[in-house]
């Protein structure tokens, strides 16, 4: 081996390592800059426009374009926050039992059928774009609700049902991994004690996979909370506090989607939308922190 060649490959070795590090470091840079820029814009509602945080978080009057003669813009956003919370929490409540059952089916009941049928089905569910879900909601769910249940159809209920389907694969795949990663011996120990499969699932597998399943649920919640278009298409977009499942309402994401294009940069309205974006960002970061906390408490790792 010539000395020149050896030197060259050592240089390449260094360059390669540096390149890989820069790529990984870029992830930090992007994350930090997203936080920085969204925060700068989002905080100007409170710093430049001098609005109070409590008006923003707990007020319910959203009239961001009201002229000063009538009392100036009002940026109360509680109804959007509640809208996002309701739509995603109810979606999770419906979706979680189904997802966990599907996960158990794939790992404990019928492995082969699970791998060949349910697993690909879940991958396709994930792959279907959110606008397509929104479109199905718009063409099937909304008319169905208005015809058979009542109201306009554009409603909290429609949003919940669309999100239920969208978070199903997320919760299923993460809880499947959690259940799969449990050591097989704990099941054998349970069977050896004479437990049936159902007893083993209920008393051994599910409790042992608890933290993994919790992670799955929080991830599902995060996805539901951040989903924009599918929800916006079916929810009716009226800035009201949701008091009934059949009432049209708005979420944080839907109001951002609807209004961003109509506003002028720097206006109170525009800044308030950025504040909503910042809130969304902080909430999704909060979900990640919760997942990390839950993961640390996992029994088997």
């Amino acid at each position: 081996m010539s000395e020149k060649y050896d030197k060259r490959r050592k240089v390449f070795d260094k360059i390669g390592k540096t390149y890989a590090f820069i790529c990984a470091f870029l992830l930090i840079v992007i994350t930090v800059s997203i936080f920085y820029f969204v925060a700068t814009k989002g905080l100007s509602t409170f710093i430049v426009d001098k609005r109070s945080i409590s008006e923003f978080l707990f007020g319910t009057t959203w009239k961001p374009d009201r002229p000063n003669s009538q009392g100036g813009p009002a940026i109360g956003s509680l109804q959007f926050i509640l809208g996002s919370v309701f739509v995603s929490v109810f979606a999770i409540l419906i979706s979680t039992p189904l997802s966990i059952s599907a996960a158990i089916f794939m790992v404990e009941i019928a492995k082969k059928l699970g791998r060949n049928l349910l697993q690909p089905a879940m991958e396709i569910f994930v792959g279907i774009p959110s606008v397509v879900y929104g479109w199905i909601g718009l063409t099937v769910l909304v008319p169905f609700i208005s015809k058979h249940i009542g109201g306009l159809g554009f409603s909290l209920l429609a949003g919940i049902l669309v999100l239920t389907i969208m978070v199903l694969p997320t919760i299923t795949s993460v809880s499947t991994d959690a259940i799969k990663s449990l050591p097989w011996e704990i099941r054998e120990a349970s069977y050896a004690l004479g437990a049936t499969r159902w007893q083993t699932i209920r008393r051994v597998v599910l409790p042992a996979a608890k933290s993994g399943i919790l992670t799955a649920v929080v991830l599902g919640l995060a996805r539901a909370f951040g989903e924009a278009l599918a929800v916006q298409m079916v929810i009716g977009n009226s800035p009201a506090i949701p008091l009934s499942f059949l009432q049209p309402m708005s979420t944080i994401t839907s109001v951002i989607t609807m209004d961003m294009a109509n506003t002028v940069t720097g206006s109170t309205w525009n800044n308030a939308l950025w504040s909503l974006a910042l809130l969304l960002l902080l909430i999704s970061f909060g979900f990640i922190l919760i997942i990390r906390l839950v993961g640390r408490r996992s029994m088997y790792k």
Binding site: K10, F12, D13, G16, K17, A20, F21, C23, A24, F25, L27, I28, S33, I34, F37, V38, S101, A102, F105, M106, I109, A110, L113, P120, A121, E123, I124, G127, I128, P129, S130, V131, V132, W135, I136, L138, T139, A195, T196, R197, W198, Q199, L219, R223, G226, E227, A228, L229, M233, T253, I256, M260, A261, A277, L280, L281, S284, I288, I291, R292
Partner: protein, 295 residues
């Protein structure tokens, strides 16, 4: 014997849930294809949309989606693989590694509308690129990077360490081992991952509304030089994708056949995404067989 009865009941329950989910998915797909059936023809796919008039197609939208996908992959694959490589091969337990992990997790659960707004702020406004292919591609890169990094990390980590050790034993440097041994062996996983994320990029709309824009200029395929502003490949032109178009038609459709256009576009989008899915599985299998020399 009560417990045996419950056990059987539970088994039936699980089969029913699994069956319902699969049937539901099938009916969903059938419904989308059935609704779009009248538009699934070459005319619809190959003609541009018409303004306030019947009979428009979705050719520019499909073209834009594909172009944006290619552009995004060109930017995000090298960086994503690099980051995955770092996490799989170089990262030692440290504050920085922990921070990279936290960033990856945060980025991958970021609502895509927030990514779109970030793109609007930085690429569209601050860099004055306007609603453009480039702004859209970079917003999609932000969405795709954490996924790509994780996929590559997993693919590289799953390569058997004996291969690596053999390469070291032959006197190869780490980088030589990575380029000549690890990456080729991880290729099936990498390619499957890339195609699967491509499906996601293809269907993304929320991040593109305010970055790639909701309009497309007339595409003149006589100018192919990407540096010419009139070229369809010019990176700083607005580019409405198929997914964005579906959203726009549904919320503010101006053509009299808006419903039909939405139906047809949804079917086309679904078919393309399904093709990505099938392709990923098929190619992954073939490459795996080729690499391992197995049957």
């Amino acid at each position: 014997m009560k417990s045996k009865f419950y056990d059987r009941l539970a088994t039936i329950y699980f089969y029913v849930v699994a069956g319902v989910i699969v049937l539901f998915l099938l009916s969903l797909i059938m419904y989308i294809l059935y609704q779009g059936r009248s538009e699934l023809n070459l005319h619809f796919i190959l003609t541009p949309p018409k303004f306030m008039e019947k009979g428009g197609g979705i050719a520019p939208q499909i073209f834009n989606s594909l172009l944006l996908l290619v552009l995004t992959l060109i930017i995000s694959v090298p960086i994503g693989v690099g980051a995955g490589l770092y996490m799989a091969e170089y990262a030692r337990p440290s504050k920085i590694t922990e921070l990279i992990r936290l960033s990856t997790e945060t980025l991958s659960s970021l609502p895509s509308i927030v990514v779109g707004l970030f793109g609007l702020l930085i690429f569209v406004n601050m860099l004055h690129w306007g609603y453009s292919l480039m702004s859209g591609a970079l917003a999609l890169t932000v969405l795709n990077l954490p996924v790509m990094a994780r996929v590559s990390e997993d693919a590289i980590k799953s390569v058997s360490s004996s291969l690596k050790e053999a390469s070291f034993a032959l006197g190869a440097t780490k980088w030589q081992t990575i380029v000549k041994v690890l990456i080729p062996s991880a290729l099936p996983g990498l390619i499957t991952g890339i195609i699967l994320t491509s499906g996601r990029i293809f269907g993304e709309a929320a991040a593109l509304l305010y970055t790639a824009g909701m309009s497309t200029p007339m595409l003149n395929f006589k100018v192919l030089n990407p540096l010419m502003p009139g070229s369809p490949f010019y990176p700083f032109r607005a580019a409405e994708t198929l997914a964005v178009y579906i959203w726009k038609v549904n919320s503010e459709g101006l053509a009299p056949d808006a419903r039909q256009i939405a139906d047809g576009s949804a079917a086309v989008l679904l078919i393309i995404v399904l093709l990505f899915n099938i392709l990923a599985r098929w190619l992954g299998n073939i490459l795996y067989k080729k690499m391992t020399g197995g049957k």
